[in-house]
């Protein structure tokens, strides 16, 4: 039986474990991608968000075998990009990080939104982030941060 072959943060890799394992657990435990947080394991909180072939997914609701042949990006890979730098600056500028647990998922949800819609309205930002819960309830600051990144990072997305 073939292994699960995928690209993780730009590097080809093979996973030899069970195809039925949660991608969340595989990425955290096997690949030490600890930016991914386990919040609910039900696809409700968005803390485990990753990009699979550029599309936002909750890794708790993805089986490892489903990424065979795909490219997976976590915050560990995304943080090397100019887009991340723009988002990081924008989040810092408006203090959009409190405990930080939701932040990696928020950043990747923002990337998914801005890559489809570089100049979103406030409503569109709220919709784009609607699957990501912030239990510190810092939503307004996060929305402002994404709006700021879209403006300051004009041309990146």
């Amino acid at each position: 039986m073939a292994d699960i072959r995928f690209v993780l943060n730009g590097k080809e890799t093979e996973y030899h474990g069970s195809a039925t394992e949660r991608l969340l657990d595989v990425l955290r435990n096997q690949y030490r991608c600890t930016s991914i947080k386990c919040g609910c394991r039900e696809g409700e909180c968005g803390a485990c968000a990753v990009l699979i072939d550029g599309i936002l997914h909750n890794s708790c609701c993805v089986a490892a075998g489903a990424v065979d042949g795909s490219s997976v990006v976590t915050l560990e890979g995304y943080r090397e990009t100019a887009r991340f730098a723009a988002l990081e600056k924008a989040f810092a500028a408006v203090s959009a990080v409190q405990c930080g647990f939701c932040t990696p998922g928020m950043i990747l949800a923002a990337e998914a939104l801005l890559s489809k819609n570089p100049h979103p309205s406030e409503d569109e930002i709220r919709e784009g982030l609607s699957g990501n819960f912030c239990r510190c309830t810092g939503y307004n600051a996060i929305v402002n941060a994404v709006s700021g990144a879209a403006k300051e990072g004009n041309g990146l997305w």
Binding site: R41, I55, N58, A63, A66, L113, N132
Partner: protein, 272 residues
């Protein structure tokens, strides 16, 4: 692959399904919640035959592994279905969840299934030996009960191309996003030459099955909206007696009242 199979064509997938006890895996959003011990998955997302949205003379054909996000972007998918899909969960789940999976999970709360009931949708079911077209209510029977035999796979959902222009859809949940329906309602209204030709009303999440009562609907067929108004009270009373509600966290009486209010709103929207 340990505990998993991948298929690059429908034929290959059906052979695997016939020869193993693998569970079809499209989006995974429900399967991963169940996380069944000892399960083996058959991954379907890379099978082109299951990923397309096409149209023929009679139907819009939505591949079973088409995601909700893909449906929202398609000009072929009718507004009624798009309205339901746009209220499902949140972007990451809509990026993964599929039409086939929404049926296959066997939940009476499945947001696309209530639309399929109201729209008189069909499903194309395939197996290694044969294929068949089945009405949606013969495929989705009730909670966790599907009209599928071993080795059969949902390949496409067929929505009628015509007759879905006048509709109502409402999802009642506890919040705007990531909500599991307390009650969902889809209605399709038809009017030709001033007379009612269709008054399909489907209710989801209220009982263990998606509910539709064709015999009550018939009481409005052939009437003008004004004539239908005169029998509306009897019509609503009939539904009040028939609608099944469950012991959900919102309570059966709340569900019953919401169902009747949504039904009343649907008819009022079209002059009844």
């Amino acid at each position: 692959m340990v505990n998993g199979y991948t298929a690059s064509s429908l034929k290959e997938a059906l052979t695997i399904l016939a020869e193993t006890n693998a569970v079809p895996y499209a989006g995974g959003t429900d399967l991963m919640l169940e996380n069944r011990p000892g399960v083996k998955y058959l991954f379907l997302k890379k099978i082109p035959e299951l990923r397309s949205i096409t149209a023929d003379e009679r139907y819009i054909r939505i591949g079973a592994a088409v995601t909700f996000t893909e449906a929202l972007a398609s000009p072929l998918v009718p507004p009624l279905m798009k309205e339901a899909v746009s209220h499902i969960a949140a972007p990451a789940i809509r990026n993964a969840g599929t039409f086939g999976g929404n049926i296959g999970n066997g939940s009476d709360k499945a947001d696309t299934v209530v639309v399929e009931f109201a729209a008189d949708a069909k499903a194309r079911i395939v197996s290694k030996e044969k294929e068949r077209i089945a009405d949606i209510d013969k495929v989705f029977l009730s909670r966790k009960h599907l009209g599928l035999s071993d080795g059969e796979l949902i390949a496409e959902i067929l929505l009628p191309r015509k007759g879905l222009e006048r509709y109502a859809y409402t999802k009642v949940g506890g919040r705007q996003s990531q909500a599991v329906s307390f009650v969902s309602f889809a209605g399709v209204f038809g009017l030709e030459n001033g007379r009612i030709t269709n008054a399909a009303a489907a209710f989801g999440a209220a009982g263990d099955a998606v509910q539709r009562y064709r015999d009550i609907e018939k009481s409005l067929i052939g009437k003008t909206p004004d004539e239908a108004k005169k029998v509306k009270a009897d019509y609503l009373r009939a539904y009040e007696e028939r609608i099944l509600v469950n012991q959900s966290r919102v309570g059966p009486e709340y569900q019953r009242i919401v169902c009747l209010n949504l039904l009343n709103d649907f008819l009022s929207r079209f002059g009844v």
